[in-house]
């Protein structure tokens, strides 16, 4: 029948978990991510957000890009590409990293999994095969393979996440440290579990061959029945990551390779990711530009803001005084945080104004009519949500 569908070319791809997720998407709240049909939410965005903070939820990461990088040159290639020192990454460990253009502008961020001596997996939000190929130039002992389609990934986040995996029979899972990896036998294949995620809470990511995706789902959901498991989509994940202070492409940063206007992309220093840049490495892409940036100081700095009142400061422009004369920055993401009970935001502020007063000019609607409000902002160093369990090993049950 497929060839008779005149809209076949416009239909989105379906995740290997789709068969289970679709019936649970009671609201038909679909949008898309990397050409996959992707849920904004399933039942109620707020409900799902609270699953992440109170019980646990699953987030489909199949649309994320996954690349397998193998060979004697794999480490050298990755180390030339990303700003962090991958040589320090031990076997069965994961590291968060970013990579930049020669000009030191950020292309994307992602995670690198070390799976063997010469075997890595790189995950990231946007497809980057072209950049990987360029980054591989000059290296011969190397294969780069897009495994996005063959590997299914499911993120399990929230305080009962460990209890669910235990109930699923994953022995000693509570001993897994943050950013660690464990492998388990699952239906004759291997289930890889990493203690990683994008929620700022206790959480894991589960990786398995696509053919076993639904088996994994069923095992997980039957183990999770008494632990409040529920799928969540883009809306809830966006809330959780903002509370955790994590950046998103197309929100906090404009991917450098897609940026038209000069310097409307960002450097890692501007994004407060200076800690990801390791100048002890003799060479990596963007090194000299980033050295200059480090010495001169970034023009903008990404900060966490705690804003007075309870009106979210979406798209707000920032000023140094209440009268709103002279812009000093802008808000990149904002929300009322139910867990922190604070009006929070991530914002780009001209670095030299960081020490002074910061005010946000907020527009908010009341029964169709827009109202304006100028609210004082306070810069916060710590994430708005960082419960102890996120870092504890053994991981608690709830």
């Amino acid at each position: 029948m497929e060839h008779t569908d005149p809209f076949a070319g416009e239909r989105l791809k379906l995740s290997p978990f789709h068969a289970r997720q679709a019936p649970m998407n009671l609201r038909d709240a679909w949008s898309s991510w990397n050409s996959y049909k992707f849920a904004d939410y399933y039942y109620d965005a707020q409900y799902e957000y609270f699953c992440i903070r109170n019980t646990c939820g699953t987030y489909d990461i199949c649309p994320m890009q996954k690349y397998e990088i193998r060979g004697a040159d794999a480490l050298a290639m990755l180390n030339r590409m990303v700003t962090r020192d991958v040589a320090k990454l031990k076997l069965d460990r994961v590291t968060y990293c970013c990579w930049c253009t020669d000009e030191g502008r950020m292309i994307d961020d992602g995670t690198i999994f070390r799976l063997g001596d010469d075997h890595y997996m790189l995950t990231c939000g946007s497809p980057c095969l072209a950049w990987l190929r360029q980054s591989a130039l000059g290296f011969t002992e190397l294969t780069v393979r897009d495994i996005s389609e063959e590997r299914a990934g499911l993120s399990l986040q929230g305080p009962t996440a460990c209890a669910v995996l235990k109930a699923m029979g994953l022995a000693a899972i509570e001993q897994l440290k943050p950013f660690g990896i464990l492998h388990f036998d699952f239906r004759g294949d291997t289930l890889m579990v990493s203690r990683t995620g994008f929620s700022g809470d206790l959480g894991y990511e589960l990786w398995i061959d696509r053919s076993l995706a639904l088996d994994l789902w069923d095992a997980l959901y039957s183990a999770g029945e008494h632990h409040g498991i529920h799928p969540y989509g883009e809306a809830a994940t966006n809330m959780a990551r903002l509370e955790a202070g994590f950046i998103m492409p197309a929100m906090e940063f404009n991917e450098a390779l897609k940026t038209v206007n000069f310097q409307l992309d960002q450097t890692p220093f501007e994004l407060n990711l200076g800690w990801l840049v390791d100048f002890r490495k003799p060479h990596f892409n963007g090194r000299s530009a980033l050295l200059r940036e480090r010495d001169k100081g970034p023009k903008y700095t990404l900060v966490k803001l705690d804003i007075e009142g309870n009106k979210p400061a979406n798209d707000a422009i920032l000023y140094a005084d209440r009268r709103c004369k002279g812009e000093i920055g802008y808000v990149t993401s904002a929300m009322w945080s139910p867990a922190a009970k604070a009006n929070i935001a991530l914002a780009m502020v001209r670095t030299k104004y960081l020490a002074g007063d910061i005010f946000a000019e907020i527009y908010y609607p009341k029964e169709l009519r827009p109202y304006r409000k100028v609210a004082r902002c306070t810069v916060r160093d710590k994430p708005f949500w960082a419960p102890a369990r996120t870092r504890q090993t053994p991981a608690p049950d709830r």
């Binding site: 632990h227 309870n310 009970k341």
Partner: protein, 539 residues
């Protein structure tokens, strides 16, 4: 001997809040609690191993967000989780499901009455308008209408301005609202009895009024004016039970340098020359302080902790006649599994939220009639929720506990005082009703705690077990709370204040009474105010 700046009697959530703000303002403050646990009616207790009951209050909506934020209660361990999907059960076996999705909710109402489905939006807009005005008063000290102090006049002008903003017609409606019954109010909107019963149910929770009694419309409003994260009328659960609220406030208090002493029941308040100077504990110890604050209800404070000769007779009379009739029971039940209810689909979102066994307006009024006769109805009104379906910390995984709030339950029985046997018979009545709606329910019971007004008074000192520390009728609201002329937290003895739910804005876990009282105390001490404003003025 050590002299404190302030003694707060009672570690209810309001006493703790009051003390936290006094400590933050630099005062040396101690909270004295008679029980070996804190929290008063905002408490979590493990009465059966592995099960943690919110023994008294069970859901949260009135808690002032600005206080939560200012006291940093999230960092101190508090997470409020809104819950969805309440079902009202009718006498005839019919159900009314409160779906969170607007479209689904409309269809559900339409199934019962197309007229009422349409009327609901007007009802909600009207109620929202009334709620908005009341919300704005929660964190303000009521003005004394008989005073000519600039501050009182300013406050009266504020209220007048808010009132006028409603428009002329609404002004009349508003006045009516304070004095009418919930049933009459609903008559203006709805025709379907189950819809009316479901909507009326907040109007009888905790009150010694019936759905037909004048004044119950305000009780209804009192229960829907709260919010969770700005969603007005929504209710949430505190992760870890209601005690998590008290414990988070206690952590904030200790962080600010305050002290809490449990097992320190106060026998009497010490008064010299019309000034309070300290307290005497039940164990005979005396503690001295410049300021004494009572978190107990007004009746208890004035008739138990103070001597008649220390008080103006007018106040003593007011205290003795303070309306604080107990009317509620609570049955907490540990369950080996999730109960299923007749007539409900196996929908995971709605068969585990709240259950309102309202029946009909008639059944609710009958239950009230029984209370008046000094007994309980065989068909009581029950408002239930299964917190363990939401909160993984209050029962073992896969097991549950159900909170059942019962109207009505008399403070004294016509045939004599409460006995353990009568208490258990009351509990049995509740289980029998639940069994009718959920066949097999009894087989799930692992443990239960039955609380009549007698237990509630004996354990946490709420006189007659009145959950609000005094009836919420206009004669005891705003500047009339607890007594006319004493609506500003200062009591008729020097250096003596009240901070519990007997003061404005009344009962419920809001922390507003305690915070408002702290603001007044700091004002008298000429200290800078550290209590934040409410954050609802932009609504």
């Amino acid at each position: 001997m050590k002299r404190y700046d302030a003694i707060v009697i009672g570690a209810g959530h309001n006493g703790l809040t009051n003390a936290a703000y006094l400590a933050r303002a630099g005062l040396d403050v101690v909270v004295l609690e008679k029980n070996d646990y804190i929290g008063g009616a905002a408490v979590t207790r493990e009465l059966h191993e592995g099960w943690h009951y919110s023994s008294c209050s069970y859901v949260c909506s009135m808690m002032r967000q600005s206080l939560h934020r200012d006291l940093d209660l999230s960092r101190h361990g508090l997470l409020l989780v809104p819950y969805l999907g309440t079902v009202a059960f009718g006498d005839d076996g019919n159900t009314l499901i409160d779906y969170p999705d607007e479209g689904a909710h409309y269809l559900e109402l339409q199934r019962h009455s197309p007229h009422d489905a349409d009327a609901m939006s007007r009802f909600q807009a009207d109620l929202g308008r009334y709620a908005q005005l009341i919300r704005k008063t929660l964190m303000r000290t009521p003005p004394d209408p008989a005073s000519f102090k600039p501050r009182d006049i300013r406050e009266i002008l504020f209220l007048a301005k808010e009132f006028w903003a409603l428009g002329e017609r609404e002004l009349y409606e508003y006045m009516r609202f304070f004095t009418m019954s919930a049933a009459d109010f609903l008559e203006d909107y709805f025709e379907n009895d189950l819809i009316k019963a479901a909507m009326a149910s907040p109007g009888i929770i905790g009150t010694a009024l019936g759905v037909q009694s004048p004044g119950s419309a305000y009780i209804l409003l009192h229960h829907v004016m709260g919010d969770v994260d700005g969603s007005v009328g929504a209710w949430g659960l505190a992760r870890g039970g209601m005690g998590a609220i008290s414990h988070a406030i206690a952590n904030a208090l200790r962080e600010a340098g305050g002290e809490i002493r449990t097992c320190a029941g106060v026998e009497r308040i010490l008064v010299r020359n019309g000034t309070t100077v300290g307290v005497a504990l039940e164990n005979g110890d005396e503690l001295h302080a410049n300021i004494v604050v009572s978190n107990l209800d007004a009746k208890r404070t004035f008739t138990r902790l103070l001597q008649p000769e220390e008080l103006p007779p007018r106040i003593l009379e007011r205290a003795r006649n303070f309306k604080i009739r107990g009317s509620s029971g609570k049955v907490n039940i540990a369950l080996s599994g999730l109960p299923r209810f007749k007539g409900l689909p196996d929908n995971r979102y709605i068969n585990r939220g709240g259950q309102t066994f309202a029946g009909s307006l008639e059944t609710m009024e009958r239950a009230y009639d029984a209370w008046k006769r000094g007994t309980w109805s065989e068909d009581p009104f029950i408002e239930s929720i299964i917190p363990s379906a939401w909160d993984p910390t209050v029962a073992p995984a896969g097991k549950h506990w159900m909170s059942n709030f019962v109207q009505y339950c008399p403070p004294e029985l016509a045939d004599g005082p409460w006995t353990p046997e009568k208490r258990d018979a009351f509990g049995q009545t509740v289980i029998n009703k639940l069994e009718r709606y959920s066949p097999g329910f009894k087989d799930l019971i692992v443990h239960m705690e039955v609380r009549t007004p007698h237990e509630i008074e004996a354990e946490i000192g709420l006189t007659q077990g009145n959950i609000f520390q005094g009836e919420l009728t206009i004669d005891q609201l705003l500047f009339n709370r607890p007594f006319p002329g004493y609506g500003q937290y200062r009591m008729p003895l020097r250096n003596f204040y009240m901070c519990g739910s007997s003061t404005h804005p009344g009962g419920g876990v809001s922390a507003a009474c305690g915070a408002n009282a702290a603001r007044e105390i700091l004002r008298d001490l000429k200290k800078p105010n550290v209590v934040p404003d409410d954050d609802c003025y932009d609504e």
